[in-house]
Amino acid sequence: MKLTIHQNHVFIVNSKYFNFSTNKTLSFCFTFSIMSSSCLSLVMEIDNLEITADPNWLELPRDITMNILQRLDTVALVTSASVVCPLWWNICKDPHMWTTIDMMNNLSLTHSELAYSSRLEKICRYAVDRSCGHLKDIYIKSFGTDGVLLHIANSASQLRCIRLEGCHDISSDVFMEIVTKQPFLEEIDICHCSNLRTYFFEHVGKCCPLLKSLKFSPCIEAVGENKSDDVAFAIAKSMSMLRHLTILNNQLTNNGLLAVLDGCPLLEFLDIRGCLHIIFDRSLEKRCNTQIKELRFPTEYIAHKFNFGDYMYYLQLKLRLVILE
């Protein structure tokens, strides 16, 4: 005789049930019936039972299976999990499985060819379509074109977070067009995207009143001789809800920083590594201490550096493509 996982489910469901039950008498009855029917009797007969060590995963509650599958990145979900069996296929039909598109774990472009990145693009589009407008968070690394981003912007209106890393094919103009359609954006993280510059920050601030976190790491390694507080003033003027600001290797000065601190009263995390025109004197330090909980100083080391090798390889591929055309 076998004790199947099925009986456990009955037990768990019931025990959950009387957790919420307020009627003591009723719950006692339940307890008693469960105790006697499913537990005590099993206990008494347990010696005669052989417990199956191989429970069927398909009999797990649907939300438990979803809990696992939701943790897979988008590529794994599309290419593997969704076609494992009809049940999983069915689960993956649920748009809520696709609220996050996570394509950060791709190999870097140096290890692949353009065919690979066009495949990633197809997977991304497929996932966007699957989300049926429920898309909230999107993380893209090393691929992604204006076309993909426009597709996302046109399919989703409730984006909460955009994170782009090493996406050299995405232009500032298209990025601006996208934020225009996303009033619920709370997080923008742009890292090493050679065509995305800081000049659109004011536009972003105007379009995304809920913006809480802005991270920007340019491809440029070292800040030049020129000082400019334009970006800082744009942030101060338009992003009053900001809590987290990372802006590396920027040309801003003490004036710009003070404007940011005044303009973003909720700001509590500030990362200005590489912004070497900022001079930390006593008054600036004091000003920061009253507001900022976590501060990364201009002279601190930036571990995650822009990979020039990757970028050169990317340019080479592009060039080859142009020649072929």
């Binding site: 307890t31 347990i46 696992i68 943790r71 599309v78 593997s80 494992v84």
Partner: protein, 176 residues
């Protein structure tokens, strides 16, 4: 952790005395090993706790027929750390290092049965990590899932997703 082999399952005792909060709880694994744990540990296991609550604490020996004596110590260890607030990335990494695929699966089912939310979430992530970037066949084997698509259905799927079936990691036969 005290353990004793209970000779008979009918040693299941319904304590008549008024349960004091410090009384230990006995968890009986499927293979009849008794694990004595503090009530705070039992609290982490929702299934066990609701059992205790609903009998007003009169039952302190809880049979867990579907959990083996091999898995239960892991569950208890995790709960102990959880209570102490010592679930760190390092601890989780060490914890999972000890487990092979089979054990992860068994622990997951135990966590599901006992309804321990934190452990369930943690193991969900572990499982997701272990099947990430694997072939469909590997995932099926990992979960012991029969491919019950009809040939027509599968052909249709393969066609629909034809462009996706390249570039996955080669399957590892033996993973620890």
């Amino acid at each position: 952790m005290a353990e004793e082999v209970s000779s008979q399952m009918n040693s299941l005792s319904i304590s008549e005395t008024n349960p004091s909060s410090s009384a230990t709880i006995s968890l009986v694994s499927g293979d009849d090993i008794v694990f004595k744990v503090e009530p705070t540990i039992a609290k982490e296991m929702e299934t066990v706790q609701s059992f205790i609550d609903e009998t007003d604490g009169k039952i302190t020996t809880i049979p867990l027929p579907n959990i083996s004596s091999h898995d239960l110590p892991y569950v208890i260890e995790y709960c102990e750390k959880s209570i102490a607030g010592k679930i760190t990335k390092e601890f989780e990494a060490e914890f999972v290092k000890k487990l092979n695929n089979e054990e992860v699966k068994e622990l997951f089912l135990a966590a599901n049965y006992l309804n321990i939310k934190k452990l369930l979430d943690f193991l969900s992530q572990v499982i997701a990590d272990r099947i990430a970037n694997k072939s469909v066949e590997y995932v099926r084997r990992y979960f012991g899932i029969e491919n019950d698509f009809t040939p027509e259905e599968e052909a249709k799927l393969r066609e629909e997703l034809a462009w996706t079936f390249t570039g996955v990691d080669p399957d590892d036969e033996d993973e620890n």
